[in-house]
């Protein structure tokens, strides 16, 4: 691809509207051509400026009324028994001094259980637990990332997180396939 072919495609490249072959052509050409690269950078900075402006304008929109419209409707929703019991307990808990003895009792039970367990270990001559130096846990790099924007022509896009390192996974499901070739159950 030369400059004459690349120039009309630059805006479409920035908008992601070219087909793969053309995308690749423009990307390869701009890597070699300083002029087209500069033009691409300018177009991208324009797009960034527009995005920033629109985002700022959206943030200024007063969404206060939306909540006042939703809140009354939410009150009519039925609450599950467990949630109602929890609410009732929280209310009682807040009004009375009941929580002090309850928590003290729980703490005492925990201390007692710990003492009994430790006592048993010593009685059996197994004090290795107390003496063994604790092995340091492996330190994992927190690999979390934030998605600023996403567009896709795939049928489905999902965002997953690998639980141990918080690694972000963008799952693009194009042919009804799921991880492991299973249905949604394959995704955890």
């Amino acid at each position: 691809m030369n400059c004459r072919e690349a120039q009309p495609l630059l805006q479409l490249f920035v908008d992601g509207e070219l087909d793969a072959r053309q995308m690749r052509g423009v990307a390869l050409h701009s890597a070699r051509c300083n002029g087209c690269e500069q033009d691409l950078r300018f177009l991208e900075s324009c797009q960034d400026a527009v995005t920033e402006y629109v985002t700022a304008a959206v943030e200024e929109v007063d969404l206060g009324r939306v909540w006042s419209g939703i809140a009354p409707r939410l009150r009519h929703r039925s609450t599950p028994l467990g949630a109602r019991l929890w609410e009732w307990w929280a209310e009682v808990d807040a009004r009375s001094m009941l929580r002090v003895p309850a928590y003290a009792g729980a703490a005492a039970a925990l201390v007692l259980a710990a003492n009994v367990w430790q006592g048993q270990g010593t009685k059996n001559g197994d004090d290795s637990f107390a003496q063994k130096p604790t092995r340091p846990l492996p330190i994992r790099f927190d690999n979390s990332a934030v998605v600023r924007s996403i567009k896709s022509e795939a049928a489905e896009v999902a965002m997953l997180r690998e639980p141990e390192t918080n690694t972000l996974v963008l799952w693009v499901n194009d042919e009804g396939a799921n991880p492991g070739g299973r249905t949604v159950g394959g995704l955890r």
Binding site: F141, S152, P179
Partner: protein, 165 residues
Amino acid sequence: MSGRRILGAAACSLLLVAPALAVEDKNCQLRVSAIVATNSGRPEKELDEFHKRWRSLFHYSSYKLLKDETKNVKWRTRAGFDIPGGRYLVVSPRGPSEDGKLIMLKILVLEGSRPLADTVVTLKNEGSVVVAGPKHEEGILLLSIGARTETSGPWQTSPVNFGGN
């Protein structure tokens, strides 16, 4: 007096901007790895750790590293990577944060004539994101896309062990 103030202000702003300039001064190093996950064949031994780590998310029994490529690019330019299956990946590092701890990346995954994913993400310096799902042979492709400010040392993370030790 006003001249001194101006000089002082200039020195202060230079001090504030200097770390960002120092980070911007370096290139961005991109690392792209393509792994195919299938339910046929035995897992590669090198990918054992990967398998253990990722089985909570993906139900595949076998993982195979197809590609692991590193490129150094200037900030706000782009790098293209050929991806197995005739796909193409364009990664454009928009820039590091002022303290150099975060990196903003634009990622475009193309399949045929369509963008499978066109996204802008902010990740930690030397962090990575995974784009998964495109079909490949009898399984799916996992693309690990990592970025860091250019340094000569080895990567703390690897495609088989995201998050390091």
